[in-house]
Symmetry: D2
Subunit: 339 residues, 4 copies
């Protein structure tokens, strides 16, 4: 019997991508879609590309109805809305993957600083598992609530965690990330206008982006090491994807072979990590749940550029969420994701 799955927030970019991917999953059934619509609408009328592929309605979000219809919940809701809804689902024994930032930052003070609101579900915040299977798979297996990682953090953590765990790089890390505007959501906005984004590039929130504490916390959890992070996100006029170029310094000289063998030792059993030599190209991961990682070493073997590349809506959001669900539900980790 298929698992009955709900997507709350089914009309944003992430919710739409969740639906698209879930349609290809052999062991689940989409049993409830909800968003802030005023009345139920056929999902295929909202997104005509789903015509002949899905017949379900998208309904105004109603937790009581949702509880009747589904056993497993994806929350593709805005920050702060998730922490209103998740407790009610957990209370009734439902499993939850939250794609907002609400359950990612363990220190609620930091959450309040970066997201501007008080956290009001500390109880579940403590229980939530950070959903990066490459490092927390055993915890995810047992989790009732998973905090799905941010898109930038996924691209950064996967690229540098092995080096930090091996304690071979300095604590100072510089990350230059490039993202599609789709990461900023569907809301109409003069900044998101076609003419403003096409052929454009801009930096935003250097030193202060809300993903900084998330990266710092998780890298510390993984490696035991406190890093010093300089993180500069950019928007570039591409359809999708995040491309991170990361600058690290080695404590002592390293060879390319050694570097490669470290990454291989961490990731050879991870179905969605691909080492790419010499260096990744963004298009190779678009439409997939892969994270491609490559690296180049300076001639003195003391400094490297690590590059990682993901589809921001898949490995950076919806695909990773399904990978987490697969682990939580005991499915094959790649189920429905090797398309």
């Amino acid at each position: 019997m298929r698992v009955k799955v709900a997507v709350l927030g089914a009309t944003g970019f992430t919710g739409e991508k969740l639906v698209e991917l879930l349609l290809n999953h052999p062991f689940i059934e989409i049993s409830y879609l909800a968003s802030r619509t005023e009345k139920p609408l056929p999902y295929k009328d909202i997104f005509p590309r789903f015509n002949r592929r899905v017949d379900i309605y998208c309904e105004p979000l109603d937790v009581k109805v949702a509880l009747k219809k589904a056993d497993f919940f994806f929350l593709a809701l805005p920050h702060t809305v998730s922490m209103e809804i998740a407790p009610r689902l957990l209370e009734e024994g439902r499993k939850v993957i939250d794609l907002s930032a609400d359950y990612r930052l363990k220190d609620n003070k930091i959450y309040e600083k970066y997201y501007g609101v008080k956290h009001n579900d500390i109880k579940n915040l403590k229980k939530a598992v950070y959903g990066l299977p490459e490092f927390f798979k055993e915890d995810i297996k047992k989790a009732l609530i998973v905090a799905n990682p941010g898109c930038y953090p996924t691209s950064v953590i996967l690229a540098v965690a092995p080096l930090l765990k091996e304690k071979i790089i300095d604590r100072k890390i510089i990350v230059n990330s490039l993202s599609s505007i789709s990461g900023a959501g569907r809301k109409p906005n003069v900044e998101h206008h076609f003419i403003n984004v096409l052929n454009n590039i801009w930096t935003y929130k250097p030193f202060v982006h809300q993903h900084i504490p998330e990266i710092e916390q998780v890298l510390k959890d993984i490696s035991g090491k406190t890093i010093e992070l300089t993180f500069t996100p950019h928007v570039v006029g591409v359809e999708s994807g995040i491309y991170s170029t990361i600058y690290v310094n080695f404590k002592s000289k390293i060879s390319l072979d050694k570097l490669r063998s470290i990454y291989e030792s961490y990731y050879s059993a991870c179905p969605f990590i691909r080492l790419r030599e010499p260096l990744p190209k963004l298009r190779d991961v678009i439409g997939t749940n892969f994270c491609d990682i490559g690296f180049a070493l300076n001639s003195d073997g003391k400094e490297a550029v690590i590059v990682s590349s993901i589809d921001n809506l898949i490995k950076g959001a919806a695909g990773l969420a399904i990978q987490n669900m697969n682990i939580m539900e005991g499915f094959k980790e790649t189920e429905g994701l090797m398309l």
Copy 2:
């Protein structure tokens, strides 16, 4: 002494392009910019790309102030707003080029049908000259108010008027036009979102687009002939431009040489019309005030495809308006436009 020029509606795509082009005009001075801002703002703060190029403020639109500051007015205002403002400028002896649709359709009933509002400046509507210099240059010279043509009409009329004037084609004309989304304005809107426009194409308003009566009226004015027009506009994910592919039938067999000589006879003295063999490419006109026209003939010499290509914001709006101003003010027709 330079002519003092105002742009009302200086923050839309067309107003912005007007300012950009006027900055390169040797005989005018931009003396007043206005829009629906609530307070005066440096124009370069609204559009940082004008930094170090223009120092004027953009002010909340105030006709009294405008009259004090400028002698020549470009109205890059929404439909229906123009006809509120233009009479007050004309009354005070100012010359006006209106880039909205308000003064294009001579039959106010048709205006009301297509634009959904009653026309309330019939007096000036009668006086307004249609600003297509390739056919109405003498009238434009003497005009006090010029109705600047719509973008689609410019691309269509220039392509077929010579054939209609020569009375060699049937009255039935099919026009398939492709436009950049910039023609729809800057208003934020889910349809204008980068992700919705990139790599997309869609048809809208077939048979009912408001530019249909404009094309019909002007082609009749030029040729004395009533045409039967099928017009299908499309949006395509390009940065700028309109590309029209037009299907015509000849009353009797014609040769390619004959066809070429007809176009040459009409346009050899027109500085902004270029015949392009075999066929135009959109990029060749982008950033210019040119209209490129090409054609291909069926093997039986009875049917042709006429193709025209313009930059929708230049020859399709702001550039054409400056060409009209040049004629009205006695400047060289190409002044400031051969960049």
Copy 3:
């Protein structure tokens, strides 16, 4: 047991898309990939995006080896190469789907006129079935060789065939088609350079494109009616897709309801045809095997614009080929294609 499938010509856009789609097909195994490489190369080294997804080599094309390795053949080869290879495969009892033009035109004189070479496999040309399942499903079931339709013909034929079969439109049909440059293949070429294609649109081969006789032949086969076709293809700077806008005239007044019911009667049982009201958008079919069809009627009910939209590499090539394979092999028609 899975069917062993070969793709000859696996490094062009179409071959690459075939591999991508075949990887998701549950009942086949890709057992042989070949192209004009000089030596065997891991397919994932040619296309790094297939890393961790396919482990097979791409080999220099050798028919003898191919025959040993596979039972079912996709020929994604250039025109004229297919007709050298196909006979040798058919002779050995292999089933073939040819994605070139070599087996589409029944009249070899017309083939020679449009493709510039003599046809040298008349025997199999006669046996070949035109692979458009919406109209020739029964023949495809029994076919040993299927001529996979051209991309433009698929988009045009599906849009107008019902109206021709119903004998309600005039024989004169005007087709304005827009295509991604990917339809022109991967060969490096100054015309295909990023800077030449981005934000560009151009018409090519009006009245003389090689897909004209294919459309005429197949529409006659379907409807018994000889049409008069004006076909104008364009390249537009989009990543993929074909968008056709088709102008037809009705013999007598028709209603929108009647028009809709005709399309429904033909296509309600066709899993990959979607009627879209009011009109299709290109993005909705990208990445899918759907053909979206929409229409608009003039106020007098005598003229319509029919719009069809496909992904040129899927429903216009590789997806349609797999749909044909499904039918030939007795699989569900949608197997592996509902992603």
Copy 4:
């Protein structure tokens, strides 16, 4: 009387842009265009967008003819070709601006290391002035041969030189640069294919790009300080532009006001440098000769991100060359460039 100007290498992206900009220059006349064509061709036949704007032929390059026709030479030739031609022009008293790399690196050993060929015009290499007017204006005034800077070096040097001259930053500088593919030239190549570049991003030549020694040399010339540069160029799918994000550390705490005042003190008299707060966007410089510079400071005032943005073909090549010509010929520095 106008200066007679030649462009050698008039069919590459840079040569084409030079012609476009020179057409708007009031004090020069384009008297000779040459490229590797086999026979003279109207320039407007090679680039139809110049139709009705330029009537000159593009001829097979012949130095003797060139010397007869022009007094001032732009060399938009490939590396190694320039140093064959320049000496013959200089010998005859012509002024030369070379847009290749041949006269940029003062140490011919480094030239040979990075460009793979022996330098064979050491004499003129010594005389050549590096054409960055913001720092070498007085030398450029007197120069007979100017080495026009590389596109990446221009974007990097302008951003960090003031900080180095003030001796307030550490010698270690990390530069993450993003460039349009147009910087790689017009040569057809599978990497430059529309489908490969659209929506793509990739890193290339980290630690080893040939612009590294150029940046190091010039920053040392300007500041007296040897820097340690990590430079990572990327290609992104934008039509034009270079966007550099630069990471620097301050020797002691600095304030944003102080940082701003330093940039102002260096650049207030430079017509093509614009400080942009908070941070530049690429589109704002496209089509212009401006370099926009912005910066953000870490909360501890010890680390900054400096961002610079240029049009790679204008301030990064052709526009800068004309700025240099203006200085060499005693024209106003902005002549023909404020469009």
